[in-house]
C-alpha cells in the first residue's frame, strides 16, 4: 500500500507540474513552456501505465477496478489518453489548463480513497471488460468535450463583451473549439453505445436478463439518448453555435451523474462507494 501511495503521489506530481507549466504558458506568454507541459504530462501518463501494469500483475485481474480509488484513477488515465490521442489531430493548446485540474481532482481523490476495501470483481467476464473499458473511454472523451465547451463559452463571452484579454489571444477560434466539442462527442458516442450494449450482455450473463430497473441502467440509457439527440441535431444542422455547446454541457452533466452520482442512489451493481 505504501508503494502504491508513493507511485500515485509521483503521478499526481507529474500532472501538477504539467498543469503549472500550462498555466505559465497561458499567462506568462512565450512558447517554451508548452512542449515541456506536454512532455511532463506524457511522463505522468507513462508512469500511470507502469502503475496499472503492476496493479494488473498483482491482482491477477485484467481490469482491477473494484474500488472508487481505482475507478477514479483509471478515469483520470483515460482522460489523459484521450487528450494525447486527440492532440495528434486537433489543436488543444489551452485544454491542459482545464483538463489537468479535472485529472488531478480524479487522480488526487484516488489517493484519499486508497484504503477502501475492494468490491467483488467480474473481470473474468469479457462483456464486463468491454463494458468498463468502453464506458471509461467514452466518459473521458465527453470530459474533453466538456473542456472544449467551457473554453468555447469563455471565448464567446470575450468576443460578445468585446473584452480583449489573454483568453481572447490564447484560446483557439470558436470554430475550432466547437469542432473539438463535436468531434470528441463523435469519438465517445460509439464507445458509449458499445459500453451500453456490452453492459446488457453482461447483465444477461450474470442475471439472465438484458434489462434491470436499476438507476444506473436508466441514467446510462438517458445519457446515451441525449448524446444521440445532440449529435443528430448537429449532423442535420439543426443546432449549432452556443446552443449546441450548452447542450453538450448538459449531456456531460448527465454523463457524470450516471458515472458517479448514481452511486448515491441505490444501485446493485455499480456502487463504488459501498
Amino acid at each position: 500500500m505504501n508503494t502504491h501511495y508513493i507511485f500515485l503521489a509521483a503521478i499526481n506530481g507529474f500532472y501538477f507540474l504539467s498543469f503549472a507549466l500550462f498555466v505559465l504558458h497561458f499567462f506568462h506568454g512565450g512558447k517554451a513552456w508548452k512542449p515541456w507541459a506536454n512532455r511532463i504530462l506524457g511522463l505522468g501518463f507513462l508512469a500511470s501505465i507502469v502503475f496499472e501494469t503492476v496493479q494488473v500483475a498483482a491482482s491477477g485481474s485484467l481490469l482491477p477496478i473494484t474500488t472508487l480509488y481505482q475507478a477514479l484513477f483509471f478515469f483520470s488515465w483515460c482522460m489523459v489518453l484521450v487528450y494525447l490521442l486527440m492532440s495528434w489531430k486537433l489543436r488543444l493548446d489551452t485544454f491542459g489548463l482545464i483538463l489537468l485540474p479535472l485529472v488531478l481532482a480524479m487522480s488526487g481523490t484516488s489517493l484519499i480513497c486508497l484504503k477502501q476495501p475492494p468490491a467483488p470483481t467480474y473481470s473474468h467476464n469479457h462483456w464486463f471488460l468491454i463494458h468498463i473499458l468502453t464506458a471509461f473511454l467514452a466518459y473521458a472523451s465527453f470530459a474533453l468535450s466538456f473542456v472544449g465547451a467551457l473554453l468555447y463559452l469563455a471565448q464567446n463571452r470575450g468576443l460578445k463583451s468585446k473584452k480583449i484579454n489573454t483568453f481572447y489571444h490564447k484560446l483557439p477560434s470558436l470554430e475550432a473549439l466547437e469542432s473539438v466539442v463535436y468531434r470528441t462527442m463523435v469519438f465517445g458516442f460509439p464507445l458509449l453505445t458499445l459500453a451500453l450494449a456490452s453492459g446488457f450482455f453482461w447483465t444477461k450473463d450474470v442475471y439472465g436478463v438484458f434489462w434491470r430497473w436499476d438507476p444506473k441502467f436508466v441514467a446510462s440509457t438517458l445519457t446515451w439518448l441525449i448524446y444521440l439527440g445532440i449529435l443528430y441535431s448537429r449532423y442535420v444542422s439543426l443546432m449549432r453555435g452556443r446552443k449546441a455547446v450548452m447542450a453538450s454541457l448538459f449531456a456531460f452533466f448527465c454523463a457524470m451523474l450516471t458515472f458517479l452520482g448514481v452511486n448515491f442512489f441505490e444501485s446493485n451493481v455499480h456502487n463504488f462507494l459501498k
Binding site: 506568454g29 517554451a32 471565448q155 460578445k160 468585446k162 480583449i164 483557439p172 470554430e175 469542432s179 453555435g241
Partner: protein, 448 residues
C-alpha cells in the same frame, strides 16, 4: 581599433517629408554601396532604408572622420543642406549603436511597437549589403546577433501579440470566430475605405465569396471589378444575409439599416451559424441590440479602435521584458567585441615570441642535427605557451571587467609590439560561428 556606429534618422526625429527625401530607392542601392566602399574611413557599411527610417551602419577606426564623411555623402547624394541634415540625424557609437540596432530589429524602435515587417527589412538590408561586399566579419557578426535577438524576442515574449490597425483587428476577430478564413462568404454594404481595406485583407488570406452592395450601383460595380467579386443591387442585400458569414457595413445611411428583428429571423434560418457584423459606418448601420443575439458578433468602429488600443497597451507592457532580454544580448555581444579587441595584442605578442624562438633556433642550428633542432623547437614552444598562459587569462579577465586597456598598453610598451607586423590572415576578426551565411537567421518575414 575599429568601432561600430550608426548614422541616420527615423520617424521620431524627422517628419515623413524629410525621410522621403533621404530614402534610398532599392534600385539605387548598388551605386550607394559603391560610394560607401570608396570611403576609406569606413571599411564596412550597410544601408537600412524603410518608410520610417534611413540608417547607415558601419565600422570605422576614426568615428569622427566617418561621421563627417557620411554627412557629406548624404548631403551630396540627396542634395540637402548639412545644417538641415544635422538637425534631424543621430550618430550612435559602439554600445549605443549596438543597442540601437538590437531595438530596431526587434521592433521596439518602430512607430507601432512590435511590428512585424522591420525584421524582414533588416534582414533584406543585410543581405543586399553582403551581396555588394560591403559587409565583412564585424558587421556580419553584428547583424547576425541582432536578427537572432529579434527572433528570440518574438518567441520568448508577446511583443507582437494582437493586431493594431482597424482593418487587421477586424480580420483577427473574424479568424477568432471562424478559424482559418477560406470558405466564408462576405457581404459588403457601402464602399468605404476601411471596409475596402478589410476586404482586401480578408481576400489576401483566402476568402473568395464576396457580394458588394452600394446605393450607387456604379460604385459597387467598380469595387466588384477591382476585386473580381459580385455586385448586387442594394435593395436585395437582406436576401444575402442568410448566406453571408461576415458583413462589412459602411453606408452613409442616417439610421440603422441592420435591424435586430431581421437578424433574429435570419439567424433561425442560418441554424445559428455564426455571423460577424463589422459596422464601420458613422452614424452606425447596425442596431446595438443585434449583438445580444446568440452567435452574432457585432463590432462597430469604436469597438475596433478599443481593441487596437488594448493591443497597443499590451505590447507596451511587454517592452520591459524585451529590454531585459536585449540588455543581456548586448552584454554578450560587447563581451565578444572586447575579446576581439584583445586578439591583435595577443597575436602580436605571440608573433613576437615566435620570432625570438626562430632567431635562437637559427643561431643554434650550426652545431645540432635537424632532429635535435625539432626537439628544441618543441621545448621552446611549450615554454612559450606556459609563460603566456597566466598573463593571457588575466588579460581576458580584465577585458571582461573593462580594465583591459591598461594591460594592452603595458604589453605594447614592455614588448614594443608596435613594431610587430601581422599578416592579413592573422589580422582577420575571428568568426565565432564559422559556416553561417549572411541572412541565415530563419524568419518568415519578407521585406516590406
Amino acid at each position: 581599433m575599429n568601432s561600430l556606429f550608426v548614422i541616420g534618422l527615423n520617424h521620431k526625429f524627422a517628419p515623413v517629408k524629410f525621410r522621403e527625401k533621404l530614402a534610398f530607392p532599392k534600385n539605387d542601392l548598388p551605386s550607394v554601396f559603391l560610394h560607401l566602399r570608396n570611403i576609406p574611413a569606413i571599411p564596412e557599411s550597410l544601408v537600412l532604408s524603410t518608410c520610417n527610417r534611413v540608417e547607415i551602419y558601419g565600422v570605422a577606426s576614426d568615428l569622427k572622420a566617418a561621421r563627417e564623411e557620411l554627412v557629406h555623402f548624404l548631403c551630396f547624394y540627396h542634395a540637402v543642406e548639412a545644417e538641415t541634415l544635422n538637425r534631424s540625424i543621430y550618430f550612435y557609437e559602439e554600445e549605443a549603436a549596438v543597442r540601437h540596432l538590437f531595438r530596431v530589429a526587434s521592433g521596439l524602435d518602430s512607430m507601432v511597437v512590435g511590428e512585424y515587417e522591420i525584421l524582414g527589412q533588416v534582414k533584406e538590408a543585410y543581405r543586399w549589403a553582403s551581396q555588394e561586399g560591403n559587409v565583412k566579419s564585424l558587421l556580419h557578426q553584428f547583424f547576425e546577433r541582432a536578427l537572432r535577438t529579434a527572433k528570440r524576442m518574438r518567441e520568448e515574449t508577446e511583443i507582437a501579440r494582437g493586431a493594431v490597425s482597424v482593418s487587421s483587428v477586424a480580420v483577427e476577430l473574424a479568424e477568432k470566430i471562424f478559424g482559418r478564413i477560406s470558405q466564408e462568404k462576405i457581404l459588403i454594404l457601402g464602399t468605404g475605405k476601411v471596409g475596402e481595406l478589410t476586404l482586401k485583407r480578408l481576400m489576401k488570406i483566402g476568402t473568395r465569396f464576396v457580394w458588394v452592395a452600394s446605393r450607387t450601383m456604379a460604385r459597387a460595380e467598380e469595387l466588384a471589378r477591382k476585386y473580381a467579386v459580385l455586385p448586387i443591387p442594394f435593395e436585395t442585400w437582406k436576401q444575402y444575409l442568410k448566406d453571408a458569414d461576415i458583413v462589412i457595413s459602411s453606408t452613409a445611411a442616417p439610421h440603422p439599416i441592420i435591424h435586430y428583428e431581421d437578424v433574429k429571423q435570419v439567424m433561425a434560418l442560418r441554424k445559428h451559424k455564426p455571423l460577424f457584423i463589422i459596422d464601420l459606418a458613422v452614424p452606425r448601420d447596425a442596431e446595438e441590440k443585434v449583438n445580444t443575439l446568440d452567435d452574432v458578433y457585432l463590432y462597430n468602429i469604436d469597438d475596433l479602435h478599443t481593441v487596437c488600443q488594448s493591443n497597443i497597451k499590451f505590447r507596451e507592457k511587454e517592452v520591459a521584458k524585451c529590454e531585459v532580454l536585449i540588455e543581456k544580448q548586448i552584454e554578450d555581444f560587447l563581451r565578444w567585441l572586447k575579446h576581439i579587441e584583445a586578439a591583435p595584442t595577443i597575436r602580436k605578442l605571440q608573433a613576437h615570441l615566435d620570432a625570438i624562438i626562430e632567431e635562437e633556433l637559427r643561431l643554434a642550428a650550426g652545431s645540432r642535427s635537424p632532429k635535435e633542432l625539432e626537439e628544441l623547437r618543441r621545448v621552446l614552444s611549450r615554454v612559450k605557451g606556459k609563460l603566456l598562459h597566466d598573463p593571457l587569462m588575466k588579460l581576458k579577465e580584465a577585458q571582461d571587467h573593462g580594465g583591459g586597456h591598461h594591460y594592452h598598453e603595458a604589453l605594447h610598451t614592455l614588448f614594443d609590439l608596435q613594431k610587430v607586423k601581422l599578416s592579413d590572415e592573422e589580422n582577420k576578426v575571428p568568426d565565432r560561428e564559422p559556416g553561417k551565411q549572411p541572412g541565415s537567421c530563419s524568419s518568415r518575414e519578407s521585406a516590406g
